[in-house]
Assembly symmetry: C2
Homo-oligomer: 307 residues x 2
């Protein structure tokens, strides 16, 4: 029982209507690992960081069962840095700075000890690197999930299309699903994307919830209505971590269980947005998570008698 998580580990500077932080740990693989670590150990992390990545953060991850053997530490370069400012609606943001730093040299090498991992979460990086990871694995994982972004649809579409034939689950947001498929209707987009390879498609809609498509089946999970979304950074990656974490924990790749995984992902994302960066993810307990999942049950549960 093990999970490989591939993606960026970074530092972010974030400004929201509620506050500002100049330096907080971030990166897709960081959020995914923190979320997934509530459900499965070990998490075999594959990433790259610079000399500035805090030892305390590494220790915290290790303590949670995150194996860092596959995280390259570059001694003379800085970690990937992103800075952004959110608008009042929290659905849109301006990127202020993107310093690739070590990420420009990322060339993931899968350690021998990671071989045989049953689950693989490919965070959003260059599609050719995601392909390289899949090709390095001697045994195909039971389930491969991937994230990507519109930038690669514009700039590396051939690689992205090849990668799509190699994976089971694609997680993207609604605008990415529309761009990839050329369809405005998400139902039609889901049909087109399934033809490209992934048998399962998760469309993340932020505060409007998430959809899971598989063949003619569809499942919807709302986002938890919150008094305040303090900082949405990493919510999508946290969702992905909770999703794959639940599947890896249960080792059940059925559609029914993926529905539950979507709820788990939504619950984890609802914690993520409560504080800056992954702060809240480091505080929560199993009881907190169970309580939050119960809120989702209450949120959507209804009785109806059809006579």
């Amino acid at each position: 029982m093990s999970l490989i998580v591939v993606g960026s580990m970074a530092y972010d500077a974030i400004e929201t209507p509620f506050g500002k932080t100049d330096w907080i740990v971030g990166g897709a693989a960081t959020y995914a690992a923190y979320a997934a670590s509530n459900f499965i150990k070990p998490i075999n992390q594959v990433s790259i960081v610079g000399y500035d990545f805090a030892k305390e953060e590494m220790d915290e991850l290790k303590k949670r069962g995150v194996n860092l053997e596959g995280v390259e530490v570059v001694k003379d370069k800085k970690s990937f840095f992103w800075s952004g400012r959110y608008h009042l609606d929290m659905n849109s943001r301006d990127t202020l700075v993107t310093d690739l730093n070590v990420l420009a040299d990322f060339n993931p090498i899968i350690p021998e000890s990671y071989q045989g991992s049953e689950f693989l979460m490919l965070g959003n990086v260059l599609p050719s690197l995601q392909i390289s990871v899949v090709e390095q694995l001697k045994t195909r994982p039971k389930l491969i999930a991937m994230d990507t972004m519109n930038f690669w649809m514009d700039n590396a579409l051939d690689d992205l299309k090849r990668l799509l034939t190699m994976v089971d689950v694609l997680l993207v947001n609604d605008s990415e699903a529309r761009q990839l498929s050329g369809q405005f209707s998400l139902v039609k987009a889901a049909k087109e994307i399934q033809k490209m390879g992934p048998k399962y498609l998760v469309i993340k809609k932020g505060e409007h919830g998430a959809l899971l498509f598989h063949k003619d089946q569809v499942f919807f999970a709302p986002a938890l209505p919150l008094e305040e979304v303090f900082d949405p950074t990493g919510a999508g990656d946290t969702f992905a971590g909770g999703f794959i974490g639940h599947i890896a924990q249960t080792r059940d790749v059925s559609f029914e269980n993926m529905k539950t995984a979507i709820i788990v992902g939504s619950a984890m994302a609802s914690f993520c947005v409560e504080k800056f960066g992954p702060t809240r993810l480091k505080e929560i307990t199993k009881a907190d998570i169970d309580g939050r999942i119960r809120q989702f049950v209450d949120l959507v549960n209804f009785d109806i008698e059809l006579v």
Copy 2:
């Protein structure tokens, strides 16, 4: 067991990315009546139309148990006319023409035969007219629901606030809830609005579903993911008609039953958008409605074991 529906009956000209119609029946009370007529009879309609309102439409409504005694027919004026064009995302539209015509003279008179109706749906008209309807009723209905719009928040806020103290349920869209409350967070908006009077608040989010708030409870119903939203005109009014229709049918004003009513409203709205105007609402059968509600059950139903 009876329901009063108050609001506009009109003609619309509609342009969507999928087609165009120059003349189709519309109006909030028309949609609400067609939707509610699947669940309760009689529907005591209160509205005003001009000489151009088709006899066939009146006959169709009567056949469905809609009592038209409270619908004033003005012999020398035209019916309210609205024309609009939808953008590709179907969430935004441009109003091209608004000819109030008879609606400028609307002064609802409740016929004696409507007295004692148990349920009241106040469609979006001038708040002072909505107040007048409530004040004409000798026995307060078991439940009063109302719709309104941002225009009245800008132009008749005092009347609107007075009306809010007289009703049980407010149905508005997300931007209206934000404007009325001065809160961006819908959770905070719901708290503020409940302080203004309505013990129940329904926030309609179009393709993103609907939320029901009551005290500290919240329920969410998604919109059905559709291949094509052909014409969203009237979807919100159809939702309201299904919502109040189910409540009137069951005579149960509990929060639990309102959750079901939200699902019924969502199911009715999902039919409405499939064809121009209320066309689809005239075609569907009880079996169609039950089938659609089953789709909602499948859409949100999940199993999780919390140990």
